[in-house]
Structure formats: C-alpha cells, structure tokens
Amino acid sequence: MLKLVDLTKKYGDLTAVNKLNLTIESGEFFGLLGPNGAGKTTTVRMISTITPKTSGDIIIDEVSMDRNLTAIKIKIGVVPQQNNLESEMTAWENLEVHGLIYKMPKEKRREKIEEILHYTDLYDRKDDLVSKFSGGMKRKLMIARALMHEPEILLLDEPSVGLDASWRRKMWDLLKKLKASGLTVLLTTHYIEEAEVLCDRVGLINGGELVELDSPRNLIKKVGEFTVENFVNGITTEEFFNSREEAVAYASGLEGSVNIRPSNLEDVFLKLTNRRVEPK
C-alpha cells in the first residue's frame, strides 16, 4: 500500500504540490490525471526520492520513504517520463546493470532478463544498442527495466507521452497486461482515454492540488453521463446531463451546431477546474 500524507513540494514561492493526501491499495491501478504543470511528475519524483519533499510523508507498507532506506526502495519500480537508458549499451546490458545494482543473483538475473524481454516483445532486439531504438521501444525497455526486480509498486510517469498513435496502442496493451497481473501501479497521464481504459481509480490534479478522486465511471456520473456541445459564433459551450433524453430535450432548443456525446474525464476535469487536461 502506498500512502501520501499532506505531501508538499515548494520551489521558493511556487507550490508545485500542495498537501496531497492519497492512498493507493495493493493491486490497484491508480491514475493521476492532470494537464502539464499540474504536479504529477513532481509527485512521482518525490515518491521515488529523486526530488526531496518539502513536507508531508510518503508511506509504503507502514514505513516512511527515505532516499537512504534501501529496504523500501527495492519495493518500487520507476519509469520516468524522460528516457534515462544508457544509449551506448544494448537492451540486455541495460537490464544486466539494473539486475546488478538491485543485487539479483546471476541465474535469476539472466532468467528474468529473458522473461521480461519476451514480455515486452523486445527479445529480438536484445543485442542492439539503445541508441538505435525508436522512442516507443525505449519506453518499453524502461518498463521492462522497472519490472526486472519484481517491485510491489510501479510508478509510471506519462508512459505514452511523445509516442505516435500506433505505439501508444502498443503501450496500452502492455499496461493492460500489467493491470491483469495485479501489480500496484501509479500512472500519471494527461491522456483521458488512457486513464479511462486502465485505471481503477483516478485522482484529478490541478495546480498541485487534488481536485477529485474516484473511479472513472463515478467521476463521470457525478458530472453527468451525457454532454451537449453547442458551437455558436466560434465559441463552444458544454452542458452535462444524466440521461440522453434530458440532453436531447436541452439540445432541441439550441441554435447553432449541436453535438450530443457520452461524457468523459476531460468533461469532468473541465467542469471542476474550468481547465482542459489535453490541450486542444
């Protein structure tokens, strides 16, 4: 179990994360959804101890997280947003180094590298230098590396960002496999579909503060399951309704172009913060 208690990060006068309280249960696939600059990456960096917290606490299995507490750090796997693989080494060598610094015995290390490369469909490229990999392959290899030492909690910071549509689909397939495996996952994303498809619960974060927290379904229900978009004079307005009938009745009285569609997490976020998650 991962618990964040009043977690805060300040850079001078700027508060990047403000008293974040969150509990992620074992086996849960949890999404932290918000626009760029909302504080998602800072939160992941604090949990993984790269960025020191200003105040608050990070508790993993009843123990406070600390950079020098190796017994706790071994329980997490981290996939950062930016590629941090050694580009002058092959995929296999990158995983080998990871296994060594996580003190995995030789036999287990070799066995796990084979398994994880098959799992991520990278086995055929195991002897290629990482510098020759595409962005999507690098991202997959980073996930493989984070899974190498069999962590209890996986932190995924925007794993699909910067990937084209085809690679994003492949990434989601991989993330679905992780979800099915029962691993505890904290995923940060600004892709609405990613959060809706994968996450058991979603925390909406804006300006470093948690705005709302629930399952994607419940969040949408809270706002209204149907959205009426009305385009008049170049301006779009949105209204939310609990049933299609209500939406249709409202739309029939409108001028201009009208669109009725099921609501999504973007609508929830927009209604709660007056701000979009994914820039249009």
Partner: protein
C-alpha cells in the same frame, strides 16, 4: 555486487569507445612532449637533469589530473543534466556512497590508463623514465584525488557552461603553477608557499622523487592522501543530498 555493476557499466562503455578514448588520451601528451620536451627543452637542463627527463613526470601529473577530473566530472554532469541516467541510481536501493566510489574509481581508471599510454610513448621515443613503486603509488593517488574532485564538480554544476569555471579557476592554474613544466624553487617565497599547498605540486614532486629524502616522499604521499579523503567525504555528502 552494486559496485561491480557500476564498474561493469563503465567498462562496457570504455570498450565501446576504446579507440576514441585511446587516441584522445594520447594527443595532449604527445604535443607536450614535442613542444616542451624535444622543442623548447632540447638544450635546457633543470634540477641537474635534462629538461626532457624533468618534464615527463610533470606531463604525467598534469595529464592524469586532467583526464581523471574531466572524465568523472563530465560523466556525472552529463548523466545528471542530459541523459538523466543518474536518476536510475537515485531511485535504486543503493547507498550513494557506493555510487560515489564506483564513479571515482572508474574516473581514476581513465587517468591511470592515460598515464600508461604516456609511459608507453616515452618508452617508444626513448625519453628516459624511472618507474618505481612509489612513482606508481603517487600517480594512482593523483588519479583518485582528481577523480574525486571531478565527482564534486559534476554534482555542483548545473549547466555544461559552468564546467568552464572549474577548469578556468582550478585546473588550468594548477596545470601551469604546480611545477609541471618548471622548478618552483626559483619562485618568490609567498607564491612558493601557495604553490606548495596545491596537490598537483606534490604529485609533480613525488613523481620526480628519486634522491629525495624519505620525509619528503612521505609528505607528498600524506598531502595527496589527505586531499583525496577530504574530497571523497565531501563528494559522498553532496551526493546524498543532491536533487
């Protein structure tokens, strides 16, 4: 196993860049030997010996300093600010002390390797060099000392441009002041005291220590060892609190 992992990674990268590293490490010493040894110094005598014999230990001191310092500083700097590979170690369940030792050892290795290349070049061109166990000890200590210095520089700087500050204000002055190319005996007293505090002075003098008293040899070793220990402790402390 963790230390082995860090060193193994460095070894793989060294293997991949073997020729560029080797040729790169030979350029400066060859130029120094040509310019200061065969060129400028062909008719000079220094401290009762030929200038060539005088300057070779200085070139080894200078080159091991620059190679060890730059390799560690650049490696840390680039892995922190550009490739972000430093973060993989921050996240890993390792003590940052182990990381610091691994990086300092691998940086020192590059310095030792460059010293071996210079010795090889000198032997090929018949420059005349007396290698004793004390000579080897001082050369290795110099590599570790400046690798530890490079480790601190790599952690301290926040842009590649900042690297020039360390080079301009620490490395370059030491390169020319610390008895690498000339004897410091004729220096004014005040400057001589200052130069004697600097570690590279003791490396240069230690590498030329044939005929020196045991006390002086012990002093050179002690000064370098103290510098190394202090820089190592500073580097480890800095590494534990780095963001």
């Amino acid at each position: 196993m963790i230390l082995y992992g860090i060193l193994w990674q460095e070894f793989i990268i060294f293997k991949r860049k073997f020729w560029s590293t080797t040729i790169g490490a030979m350029v400066s010493p060859i130029l120094y030997l040509i310019a200061f040894g065969w060129g400028l110094g062909s008719n000079l005598k220094m401290e009762g010996t030929s200038y060539m014999q005088f300057v070779i230990p200085g070139i080894i001191a200078l080159n091991t300093m620059i190679t060890s310092f730059n390799n560690t500083a650049n490696s840390i700097n680039i892995s922190r600010l550009y490739y972000k590979t430093f973060e993989e170690y921050m996240v890993a369940p390792i003590n940052m002390r182990t990381y610091a030792i691994g990086k300092i050892v691998s940086g020192a290795f590059y310095g030792i390797y460059s010293a071996m290349l210079i010795v090889l070049i000198v032997m090929i061109f018949g420059g005349g060099l007396h290698i004793t166990p004390y000579f080897i000890l001082i050369a290795i200590l110099n590599c570790f000392l400046f690798s530890a210095g490079g480790f601190i520089a790599g952690l301290k700087i926040n842009s590649h441009a900042d690297m020039a500050k360390f080079s301009n204000f620490i490395i370059t002055p030491m390169s020319f002041l610390c008895g690498t190319f000339f004897s410091i005996e004729k220096m004014p007293v005040g400057i001589k005291y200052f130069i004697n505090i600097l570690p590279l002075t003791h490396t240069s003098q230690g590498l030329r220590a044939i005929g020196e008293s045991l006390e002086m040899m012990a002093l050179h070793f002690a000064v370098l060892a103290v510098y190394f220990v202090v820089l190592l402790i500073m580097g480890i402390r800095l590494c534990k609190n780095i963001e």
